[in-house]
Amino acid sequence: MTATRLHRHILSVADLGRDGLEELLKLTDTFVEVSARAIPKAPALRGKTVVSLFYEDSTRTRLSFETAAKRLSADTMTFSVSSSSVKKGESVRDTVETIEAMGIDALVVRHGSAGVPLRVAGWVHDRVSVINAGDGWHEHPTQALLDCYTIRQHRGGLEGMRIAIVGDVKHSRVARSDVLAYTALGAEVVLVAPPTLLPPSLEGWPVTVSHDLDGVLGSVDVVGLLRMQTERTTEALIPSLREYTAGYGLTRARLDRLDDKVLVMHPGPMNRGVEISADAATSDRAVILDQVRNGVAVRMAVLYLLLGTGALS
């Protein structure tokens, strides 16, 4: 297998296009297989150094990337804000240049401000690849890839699928990346949210919008729920979490009305009892842990695509 170096960075789903997404999903199959081995490790990135640069708390994304890198035999380092010189006032650029000077191959960047991974990609030199692990409300490309992979795994593909993305789209990098990826792969997307939790403009978004979850649930193949941040009530975006759950939560009653084939997805971390009931989270339709499992394989595929030259076995 040869990985072409078509892509130097993974910053946005928009940069990948349909071909890039399909290439990565195909590559992910290989790494699902590697992950299922008795010793789930390949020497593909031996000698490569992957650094996680996380300016925002994250458990699953950071662990997922680190697991992926280790399974590919890369050396990993983590730079997290709480224990770093950032607290002493160091700029992102200085931090990036300092880490780069140590001799690294990839930077996995998570930041609370939109656009930081793109800016970092403009600062690093030729040999370093930058992977966006979530930037503000903007994008989270590897989350969209693992969501696509999970749907493909269960339903064979995304072409013609009707997918509801439910909840706080406005503040969600997952939603922005999912919309781009799902529609690029031929799915139809409906955003379901109160108007206050939608982006101010949907000009250019290939989606439809509904404020009636019950009206939508009968016609969809996938329900993707978004995390509802509890502080949205203090910003007057919703009157109360109770009212939100009544209108937009995947409650027990709504779960019971869903067709058996419908997939229930959530990027985590979940607020059980708010956007998703405990019953929905643990039902047969929920593929939430498959998402996490596939996340490791998807990130192996991304790292391999950007850095890989070595063998897979």
Binding site: W137, H138, L202
Partner: protein, 424 residues
């Protein structure tokens, strides 16, 4: 200083255009006419000789942020841009809100490369709570009051400021931004903010305050000047208010008729500014407003920032962009307007609003102070941030090729720019 003659140019001022030489003696215009001579000669062949430009909206950053700009460096940038007078905004540290700071700014301005006029804050510390000592500050020469950087949020306080100032012969100027609506917004709210995931501020944040201040102008009879208007809605309201006979005036910046919010897709904070870059329709409305008189002046809102602060993440970086050295060329390149109209918008109309018409703008007439610029309207040049005279580098026009360049600038008869180079 011996007399000098500006030779071979076309004179263009508020009263018209003619081929003429201009003799300057003792800081004043001594003669305007054909084939004049004097001991010193400044060549203006192929160029336009015009009254110096006047910027209603300049951030010189002194006192407080001298790493970004000083009155010396900012006034040099102004002179290179053809400006002979700038109105320094009061959002310094400390703010220009008392006699001591006004005196400091004016004293530093006196030895600089252009005529620096201090504006002063409407409220103490620009905090929006108590009026500054406007009468005392007017006595020191302040003609324009603004809390620029912030709008005066409190309706009653703004009413009082307008009433009180109307007795002093000064101008109140407003940075129009309803903070309840704009809070947390770092670019124009719309198509691009939604796509980029950058929190936005709606056009209505600006428009609500324009609407309120027009209502207050009607209530109080006071004049109001609107700073850096950026939306089609704001400009339409000002146009209607003028048609209704209200004594309002307004400015727009060069960036609001040359750039749109699509620039923010680079996430480069060099494109972050307040009010933010807006839509193509707003850009068209600004151009239309400059063309039909709804807008009275082009201002720069020259806002220098240290490089490291413009390298922060987009939502953490301060707003503002450089403007003094590119304003005239941008107007000549981007506006489909005759030169006389561009000069009206950059020279004599802002001079009247700033209360400096006795010394700047106006006519190149015998006896007037020799504050003028010589413009090569066909010269092309490429903006190179490293070559700007400003201490800061945050121009959004790096690499852009513009037409029109200032060749000489004279301040009170003294060349402060000669053949494109500063002399001070």
């Amino acid at each position: 200083m011996s007399a000098l003659v500006i030779k071979g140019g076309r004179v263009l001022d508020a009263s018209g255009e003619r081929v003429a030489d201009v003799v300057i003696d003792d800081g004043r215009i001594a003669a305007v006419g054909a084939d004049l001579s004097a001991p010193d000669v400044i060549d203006a062949g192929g160029c336009v000789v015009a009254p110096g430009l006047v910027d209603l909206h300049t951030h010189l950053r002194q006192p407080g942020r001298e790493e970004a700009e000083t009155i010396e460096s900012g006034s040099r940038a102004a002179a290179l841009g053809g400006f002979t007078c700038v109105v320094a905004m009061p959002n310094t540290e400390p703010a220009i809100d008392c006699a001591a700071v006004v005196r400091e700014v004016l004293a530093l301005g006196r030895v600089s490369s252009c005529d620096v006029r201090a504006s002063a804050a409407i409220t103490v510390g620009r905090a929006g709570e108590r009026l500054t000592g406007m009468a005392e500050l007017a006595g020191l020469g302040v003609r324009l009051f603004t809390d620029d950087g912030n709008g005066v949020q409190d309706d009653r306080l703004m009413r009082r400021a307008m009433e009180y100032s109307s007795g002093l012969g000064v101008v109140l100027a407003q940075h129009c931004e309803n903070e309840a609506l704009s809070a947390g917004g770092h670019m124009h709210e719309g198509e691009w903010s939604s796509r980029l995931g950058i929190p936005g501020q709606p056009a209505e944040s600006e428009e609500l305050m324009v609407m309120r201040d027009i209502a207050l102008a009607r209530l109080t009879g006071a004049t109001i000047h609107f700073q850096h208007l950026s939306t089609a809605g704001s400009i339409a309201m000002v146009r209607a208010a003028k048609a209704g006979g209200l004594p309002v005036s307004a400015e727009a910046t060069t960036h609001h008729f040359t750039l749109t919010h699509a620039e923010c897709a680079s996430y480069d904070p060099v494109f972050k500014v307040n009010p933010p870059l807006r839509t193509a329709a707003d850009v068209a409305a600004v151009k239309a407003g400059l063309g039909d008189g709804a807008l009275d002046a082009i201002a720069t809102d020259h806002a220098p920032h240290e490089p490291e602060r413009k390298e922060l993440p987009f939502d953490e970086a301060p707003p503002g962009m450089l403007g003094l050295e590119t304003a005239l060329a941008l107007a000549l390149t981007e506006l489909d307007a005759p030169l006389a109209q561009v000069l009206a918008l950059l020279s004599w109309q802002p001079a009247a609003i700033a209360g400096v018409a006795a010394e700047h703008g106006g006519d190149l007439a015998v006896g007037r102070p020799a504050n003028l610029c010589v413009i090569d309207t066909s010269a092309t040049w490429t903006v190179d941030p490293a070559r700007l005279a400003s201490r800061a580098r945050n121009t959004p026009y790096a690499g852009r090729t513009l037409t029109g360049r200032v060749r000489h600038t004279l301040l009170r008869g003294e060349p402060v720019v000669l053949d494109g180079e500063p002399t001070r």
